[in-house]
């Protein structure tokens, strides 16, 4: 048998290539640029490549092809939209990452050891976080456009591995940070093993690794159903793990809490987009015809996730954990978009992912601002009276919370409405009811935080609010604007999505 030399369409792949290039440059910078210039160089390289990638995505946003890389990726509307969202979210997250305060000077050094102290004093701050971010982003860009199982798996690892490391980079509470890295890594690897095993069985069923092949195989149901079903189940484990659905969520509260907040923001927002993007593609294209088999399964998971996330969030005392559980609940809401399995569901999911992602970054950006001598203060009880101390910060956070709660005039409400109506349209009434009820529960703890910030008197314990750096300010402002504008005039974006978002098989 003879091999055909692969033909690559570089224009369509350019965003990914740009980011990978940027990442490599970043590595070199890390090696050769003087420590004084390093941070700024890294930042500009990273931002530069991200912006460039975004421009590229825009330039190709009307293109669509299955043969961009020998049918192993599919460039189409949804893919590009998701890529764009990921890049935008990454950009505003990078603004946060730029705050070196958050990262350990020397990840390799022992916590509290001399070399760490020395590195701090000499300002010998390593900045490997930037290339790591870029690697992760490029993985995320591949994930939602991957259209065969190999690429999907590679992309999954490509986005995960850097994240594992980034979780361990916190300057403060390093033990916790490293622990979160370990947990994230072990569980991630564990779940990707499931993923791969599932992939194997699907391959066994379809004797093809491409989504189109799988789709056709299901269409003319040749082969052994049991393989397919086991495959779907195990593959889902991997994906559901990444989106943080119950009961595959356990990592997220710990990692969200342990990781440096900028990384948490990036992870919570961008990873969700990428993972759901992949999920949408595989379930909408490859498994579309086996709907009967996986809809009940996903509905079950969705309901459990919504309810569990909302309920447990009530009991949280730490703001980052609270946000983690809220993101779990949102994963549940987003699943109802996958279950919907219709155009409306796809559009809604994309809109929801973007809106939620931006709001999340904004929310965590606020978290980075509340500090005391020992660094960030994430204990909710110490957020009391924040509204008095710094009304603007508190109000912005309150606004993000209202967006999470899905109160009208915020992007969250439009998202919730569209995704629930899509799910209802596809007959997933149970999911919608569960969704509505759990949003009621969810509202409860968002409001509790607002009460803490505005209606309780501050306790003087040195908790203060950092004057945000101009970049952080930028992040917050952008997130606020997007959240508000999408809440009041979502029409342009919705139309844009509706016109673009159709999966190419």
């Amino acid at each position: 048998m003879e091999f055909v030399a692969p033909v690559l369409n570089y224009t369509l792949l350019s965003p990914i290539l740009i980011l990978l290039g940027g990442a490599l440059i970043g590595v070199l910078v890390e090696a050769f640029v003087s420590k004084a210039l390093r941070p700024i160089t890294q930042l500009s390289v990273t931002l530069g490549s991200l912006v460039l990638a975004l421009v590229q995505v825009w330039r190709i946003h009307n293109e669509s092809s299955t043969s961009a890389a020998m049918s192993s990726v599919t460039i189409d509307g949804p893919g590009l939209l998701l890529q764009a969202s990921i890049i935008i979210i990454s950009i505003i997250s990078v603004f946060l990452i730029a705050d070196t305060e958050q990262f350990t000077a020397l990840a390799a050094a022992l916590p509290g050891s001399d070399e760490e102290r020395h590195a701090l004093q000499t300002g010998n701050q390593v900045t490997e976080v930037y290339p790591l971010t870029l690697f992760a982003v490029s993985g995320m860009l591949v994930f939602p456009i991957a259209s065969d199982l190999i690429t999907l798996f590679v992309a999954l690892e490509m986005l995960s591995l850097p994240l594992y490391l980034m979780a361990g980079l916190s300057r403060r509470r390093r033990l916790a940070s490293q622990e979160s890295a370990l947990k994230y890594f072990l569980l991630g690897a564990f779940s990707s093993a499931f993923f791969l095993f599932g992939a194997a069985f699907i391959y066994g069923f379809a004797s093809s690794v491409t989504f189109s092949g799988i789709h056709d195989a299901i269409a003319n149901a040749s082969g052994n159903d049991v393989f397919l079903l086991i495959g779907i189940a195990f593959l889902s484990v991997g994906l559901l793990f990444k989106v943080g659905a119950v009961p595959f969520h356990a990592w997220s509260p710990d990692v969200y809490q342990g990781a440096p907040t900028p990384v948490t923001a990036f992870m919570a927002a961008a990873t969700k987009v990428a993972a759901f993007g992949a999920m949408l593609r595989i379930f909408y294209t490859a498994f579309a015809n086996a709907e009967w088999s996986w809809t009940p399964m996903l509905s079950l998971i969705a309901i459990i996730t919504m309810v569990f996330g909302s309920l447990v969030a009530i009991a949280q005392r730490d703001v980052k954990r609270m946000l983690a559980y809220s993101s779990i609940a949102h994963a549940g809401f987003l699943l109802s978009g996958v279950i919907a399995l219709n155009k409306a569901g796809l559009d809604a999911s994309i809109f929801y992912l973007f809106a939620y992602g931006v709001a999340t970054v904004g929310g965590f950006a606020i978290v980075t601002l509340v500090r005391d001598a020992a660094g960030e203060v994430t204990d909710l009880n110490r957020w009391k009276g924040l509204g008095k101390r710094s009304p603007w910060v508190a109000s912005s956070f309150a606004f993000f919370l209202l967006a999470f709660a899905g109160i009208p005039l915020t992007s969250g409400f439009i998202g919730k409405f569209s995704i629930f109506s899509a799910a209802y349209e596809s007959g997933a009434t149970g999911v919608v009811i569960a969704g509505v009820l759990s949003s009621a529960i969810a509202a409860f703890f968002y409001i509790r935080v607002i009460v803490l910030m505005f209606f309780t008197d501050p306790i003087e314990d040195g908790t203060s609010v950092e004057i945000p750096s101009s970049l952080t300010q930028l992040t917050i402002v952008i997130s606020l604007l997007v959240t508000f504008v999408l809440g009041v005039f979502p029409a342009p974006l919705l139309n844009f999505i509706t016109n673009l978002a159709t999966f190419l098989r």
Partner: protein, 629 residues
């Protein structure tokens, strides 16, 4: 039907007076009382003018109406703000404004020491206006407005000295018990609209022709309930005694002459309903009969002169209600007794007021005595009223009361016999307790407190008393001379043939006089022959004790309604907090609780997380398995 544009002034004048006096505040203290009196007097003048006009017209053309504007109009429910003055209402107009004006004059002096006199006159004007609206309204709903209006005025006046908690309570009690009656009235209106489709007097009169007895009976009974509330009839009479908390002129005007007789007006006005609803009519009679004895009995035991008079009012109105309950024959006599009673009872109240005035507001008759010499005018005017209420010819009461007793006897069957005897009995008891009042107050030895310096009241006070006294002497004769009133009112009531006389009228009068004489005699022996204790003796018959307690009516209400009501309220308040709100809170804390329980899953051990993932995988497999199998 004639229309007139001047009816509204009857009401407008006093209403304007009230408004000015209330809004002007203390600025009006100087001239407030003058204005008030003038307003009432001018309203009286309009009334007289209307009367002269009316006399000039033929029977049919006598009623005059005036439509002010469309008040409420929704769907078929249309009510105009319209007034109607006919032979019946004119009597009331004159009584209200006439006696009203006299009492205004009286009050100028009586209240001269009260620095809130202006407010008092404002209330009086308000009352006059409301009462006139009550009798002039051309539909039950307009009447209802006046009906509650007088209730409000009475509330304000009873509680005029509401800095005394007891008085404030009295006023509240009056208002609430009246509200119960009002509820009856609104029921009546609702039933009327639902069944007859209208609430105007004319409309209902017309519709009642072809309406079912059931409906009319229902309406009738509800009207009766209303009447019992406003006219202090059994079982809603308990408030009247306490209402004496108000300044005496108020008791004279509202709780003797006018407002309390509104019930009689209502029933007479609704004659077309009651004539067609025998059951309701029978109930009316029964209520009247019970009350007239009830009141009389209470009267025998009261030492407070005003409460004694109040009891007597209750009983006299019982007579009127009974009369009205006797149907077409009775209506006119009921009204006649109402008018004469208006004179003599108002007169006596003012007399009582003048006595209190002289005895620095002492009301306990046991502390009076021998006031004849010190207050001759008061004695005479009061005495004339006394003779009138006893029904001694030729005084007013003789004509009106005897007629009722007569008609009662003439009623068909045992009904007639029973009613006759009851009314006679009532007359006897009345004679007894009124003589008691007379004797205790004016005759015998003085039993005053040391600081009492009895003296005759000034002109402004005795003049109205004198005028009313003349009324109590003459009114009866004038009204019944040639059946003047009967013929005057005849066009309003259904035709009726003279029933066979069970007893000859003179015999009845004879009997009545005899009974009265008996009553007087007993009183004379009991209170004039033997010494009267300055403090009420406690070693008295059980009956007296009960009578002093208003025949336990308050005790009953308190035990049955108030206590249960309070208990119910208390329980409901607790239920609301514990059960209903508790449930809500419960849901909240349940969510919280389950939250913190589920939290336990997050042990922090990575291996347990991995186990969780295994479980999840199993779950997925299971879920898929379910649908495939």
């Amino acid at each position: 039907m004639t229309t007139s544009s001047s009816l509204v002034y009857l009401i407008a004048l006093p209403l304007v007076g009230a408004t000015i006096l209330l809004l002007a505040g203390r600025r009006a203290d100087k001239w407030g009382h003058i204005l008030g009196t003038l307003m009432s007097a001018s309203s009286f003048a309009v009334g007289v003018y209307q009367l002269t006009q009316m006399l000039g017209r033929s029977n049919e053309a006598r009623p005059v109406t005036q439509k002010l504007f469309e008040w409420i109009s929704v769907g078929s429910f249309k009510v105009d703000a319209g007034l109607m003055l006919d032979q019946l209402s004119i009597c009331f107009v004159l009584l209200i404004t006439g006696v009203g004006t006299l009492i205004h004059i009286y009050s100028i002096s009586y209240m001269s020491h009260d620095h809130d006199r202006r407010r008092f006159f404002a209330y009086l004007n308000l009352f006059i206006a409301a009462m006139l609206l009550l009798v002039l309204g051309n539909s039950y709903l307009n009447l209802y407005v006046g009906w509650e209006g007088v209730g409000l005025a009475s509330y304000l006046l009873i509680g005029f000295w509401n800095q005394k908690p007891a008085y404030a309570t009295a006023s509240k009690k009056a208002f609430v018990m009246n509200r119960i009656g009002d509820m009856g009235l609104s029921f009546a209106i609702m039933i009327a609209f639902a069944t007859l489709g209208t609430v105007s007097f004319d409309g209902i009169k017309a519709a009642s022709e072809h309406a079912s007895t059931a409906a009319l009976t229902a309406i009738g009974i509800m009207l009766l309930v209303a009447a019992t509330g406003k006219s202090a009839q059994f079982p809603l009479q308990a408030w009247l005694g306490d209402a004496m908390a108000g300044p005496t002129p108020v008791s004279a005007l509202i709780h003797a002459a006018t407002m309390v007789t509104a019930g009689v007006y209502l029933i007479t006005r609704s004659n077309f309903i009651f004539d067609a609803a025998p059951t309701a009519q029978l109930l009316v009679v029964i209520v009247g009969a019970i009350t007239l004895i009830f009141g009389a009995l209470i009267g025998t035991a009261k030492d407070d002169i005003k409460k004694a008079l109040a009891a007597s009012t209750m009983s006299q109105i019982g007579y009127m209600i009974l009369g009205a309950g006797l149907g077409p024959v009775g209506y006119a006599f009921a009204i006649m007794h109402l008018l004469t009673h208006g004179f003599f009872k108002a007169g006596m109240f003012l007399g009582a007021g003048s006595v209190m005035h002289g005895m620095n507001d002492e009301v306990n008759m046991r502390k009076y005595g021998a006031l004849r010499k010190f207050m001759p005018i008061t004695f005479i005017t009061f005495g004339l009223g006394y003779l009138a209420i006893l029904g001694v010819p030729p005084f007013a009461g003789f004509y009106s009361k005897d007629k009722i007793i007569e008609t009662a006897f003439n009623a068909a069957g045992n009904k007639g016999l029973i009613l006759g005897i009851v009314t006679l009995l009532g007359a006897g008891i009345t004679a007894f307790y009124m003589s008691r009042v007379m004797i205790l107050t004016f005759t015998g030895k003085s039993r005053w407190d040391d600081d009492a310096h009895p003296h005759e009241s000034p002109l402004l006070m005795w003049l109205p008393m004198a005028i009313l006294a003349i009324g109590s002497v003459a009114s009866g004769f004038l009204l019944s001379n040639g059946n003047a009133l009967v013929n005057w009112l005849a066009p309003l009531f259904a035709e009726h043939e003279e029933e066979a006389e069970r007893l000859n009228p003179n015999l009845v009068s004879g009997l009545a006089l005899a009974v009265v004489a008996l009553g007087v005699a007993i009183a004379f022996i009991k209170y004039s022959r033997q010494e009267v204790a300055a403090v009420a003796p406690e070693d008295v018959s059980v009956f007296t004790k009960i009578a002093r307690k208003d025949l336990m009516q308050d005790a009953f209400n308190e035990a049955v309604f108030m206590r249960t009501g309070q208990a119910l309220t208390a329980t409901l308040v607790k239920t609301d907090e514990a059960v209903i709100d508790g449930a809500v809170q419960g849901v909240g804390s349940m969510a919280m609780g389950s939250g913190s329980v589920l939290r336990g899953i997050q042990t922090g051990f990575v291996r347990s997380y991995a186990a969780l993932i295994l479980v999840g995988a199993a779950l997925l497999i299971g879920a898929i398995w379910m649908v495939t199998k």
